[in-house]
Amino acid sequence: MSQTPLLSETLEPERYELLAEPDGLSALTRRRFFKLLGGGILIFSLLPEMTPEAQESGGGRRRRGPNGALPQEIGAWLHIGEDGAVTVYTGKTEVGQNIRTSLAQQVAEELRVPLASVRMVMADTERTPFDMGTFGSRTTPTMGPQLRKAAASARQLLRELAAQQWQTAPGSLRVEAGKVLDPQNGRALTFGQLTKGQKLAKAVREEIPLTPAAQWTIAGKSAPKIAGRAFVTGAHKYTSDMKLPGMLYGKVLRPPAFKAKRLSLDTRQAEAMPGVTVVRDGDFVGVAAPNPQLAERAIEAIQAEWETSPQPSSRELYTYLKTHPAEAQRPGGSEPETQGAIRDGLAAAAHTLQATYTIAYIAHAPLEPRAAVAQWENGKLTVWTGTQRPFGVRGELAQAFEMPESRIRVIVPDTGSGYGGKHTGESAIEAARLAKAAGKPVKLVWTREEEFTWAYFRPAGVIEVTGGVQQDGTLTAWEFHNYNSGGAAIRTPYAVPHQHIEFHPTDSPLRQGSYRALAATANHFARESHMDDLAHAVGMDPLAFRLKNLQDERLRAVFQAAADRFGWGKAQPAPGQGFGIAGGLEKGGYVATCAEVSVDSVKGAVHIKRVVTAFDCGAVVNPDHLRNQIEGANIMGIGGAFYEGMEFENGKLLNPRFSGYRVPRFTDIPTIEVVLVDRKDLPSVGAGETPIVGLAPAVGNAIFAATGTRLRSLPMIPKGLKA
């Protein structure tokens, strides 16, 4: 979507503009805004060009507009009330990445107000503008600048309002600490005094200069998590903690296997239970009851017979993926990237290496499972749910209940994490079905087993790599085929004259979707493991080999920064000890990770002792929260690298619980050191995803260095390292 000329306002700060009709908003919309918000001033920002996030689940596609309730082109807005209160409205969701804090910091910075005076209203389809969803590390590079421009535009408007009152030139006035000051005579007006009696709506001034990162005093600093106290006292209400008057508790009847067909159903016993409502709606069967224990008993009392069908198992998964190309073209594309001719590249090589890497399905397992509270009132549906796509879920609800989006409101309380796993609205639809039939609000909280089973997985994959290298370490050929796992970061950052890189969509035995960093983890694992093998083939140091073939300055810089902090090449590894390095770039961020492992080959145990990650995501907005993301990504990465993998057979998961699905724990944690490469001269980009991609290959390379064993499967050591 492009901005319409009418809306792309680039006005000179002239006083007469203040009297003109607000640009870009119809009188009706404007009235609605001020009815909603009260008087004051409103700065709205326009949606930037939409980038297709092809690989994200749910398509990220915008189904329908919000029925004219709010202009669809608006991406966010900022309101300064008649009391001077600053409120920011954005459709983004807070799932632990701490954007509630980082976005507020950026607004406070541009508006010259203390951080504590900025209130963020997030992810409420009735109160915040349309947003595709919180994924793809898009908040920092797109929502950040939108809000900064909105805040800077508001600051400029306030300056003009003061100039008008004082009959002076706006350029002579300063804005600081929530006031406009006239340095010549010391007079001052607070934002509240300036907005009193106003009803001004203005589009963001797209060309307005922003405060350079080098001059930041609020952004760029380590502000603590907003409302942190509510999290340490247990006061914060996640969706699963909510309770509405008269609310019932829901349970859903689940099939015993994927694709199972129901042959018979007997709900009489459950229906006979006092207080229990049994709901049947096509394939959907569920119950609602005044307490969870009764709901549980009622669902267990339902008799159903099912027909299950033979389905591929995890044992034959990789053969299946290689032999079942997708029938329909999947987004993400299968157009190969080619350069030169592989045959020529291989002919020019002194060594060629070919290998196959496999990637298991893994689960996000967010600690808060899917949950929703649904309420119908006067034909209007309100659903509170933990999702990364509130507007997408509103669309799903509209479809499920064949009603207009204008009668549906989705609200996302700050949520117990997602990692790309909460793009969909299953629990919202289920809770709404139950609430509709019961005539009362219903809360539905998925069990851990339901979350494992009925959500979706990170795609499994097979990756085949062939590399060719000359004796001096110059890469000549690079052929890379990814089956099913995905196209994110599939291209090599290294300079290779002859390349063929291709993503092959295939049928997937399990339902799959986004996961933190998408396929960048798998593709980096295969690429950086293979690069390590090539370095050893020509007897070169793995870091020197990479740098020899790498021109990208930012990637070189993080490799060097990680290696320097780690002491790469300084110490000789002791027996059973190994060092590994890996890196790459994705979503505008540059990462390099060094790992030290110790291997006990008798016990088959591997311990990651130390990890050093250098990361460059442009100008750093909140250093402490950035470190938190990088530390967390590395440790989360240990799960996928070492242990995690879904086992399944005939449509049944064999390990859908934490006792059978090993995730990282306290005993796994290495010493983690983070080197932030703070590029104040470059735009800020997201950091929630990319820092995860270096861990698996760095650790695999370290294990190779320690043992000579190359592990080419994720997870690498689900049952320990075999001697």
Binding site: V95, G96, Q97, N98, P224, K225, G228, R229, F231, V232, T233, G234, A235, H236, K237, Y238, S240, D241, K243, Y249, N291, P292, Q293, H364, A365, P366, L367, E368, P369, D414, T415, G416, S417, Y419, V445, T447, R448, D624, H625, N628, Q629, E631, G632, A633, N634, I635, M636, R657, F658, S659, V663, P664, R665, F666, T667, D668, I669, I672
Partner: protein, 159 residues
């Protein structure tokens, strides 16, 4: 089935009427509206539901209320005293030992339980005591640092 009519929670008697088999987690969350204690797995594997029973960290999701009827139960809501946070809560804030915060109450309760019996634990002791608690955001190093910090804060308060 015997009914449980009363539980001792956070220093006061709370009336209830529950099957003895009802999990302590559900009793707290669904019947006493103490939702700070979280559900994470239902099998005692993740620690999100950790509360103190007679001062000991306990997975409330696998604890039937019938077994704790006569015992003192402390939840995250019971830590704050006269508007003052417990040192472990303070330390979590100071260190920034969370991302989404969903595991935080369970982590804090496990930490309080540890410091109750070991006021000055080594890192190894912290890791061992906390290994039953999962943080899917994997903020473990910060939680470790926060428990260390809390031990220090507690010593300072005692002196």
């Amino acid at each position: 089935m015997p009914r449980i009519q009363k539980l001792h929670v956070n220093g006061s008697d709370r009336a209830c009427d529950l099957d003895a088999e009802t999990s302590l987690l559900s009793a707290l969350r669904d019947h006493l509206d103490l939702t700070g204690t979280k559900y994470g797995c239902g099998e005692g594997e993740c620690g999100a539901c950790t509360v103190l029973v007679n001062g000991r960290p306990t997975h409330s999701c696998v604890t039937p209320v019938g077994t704790v009827e006569a015992k003192q139960i402390t939840t995250i809501e019971g830590l704050e005293q006269n508007g003052r946070l417990h040192p472990v809560q303070e330390a979590f804030l100071e260190i920034g030992a969370m991302q989404c915060g969903y595991c935080t109450p369970g982590m804090i309760m496990a930490g309080v339980g540890l410091l109750n019996r070991k006021p000055d634990p080594t890192d190894q002791e912290i890791v061992r005591a906390m290994d039953g608690n999962l943080c899917r955001c994997c903020t473990y190093p910060r939680i470790l640092a926060a428990i260390r910090k809390a031990a220090e804060l507690q010593r300072r308060t005692v002196k």
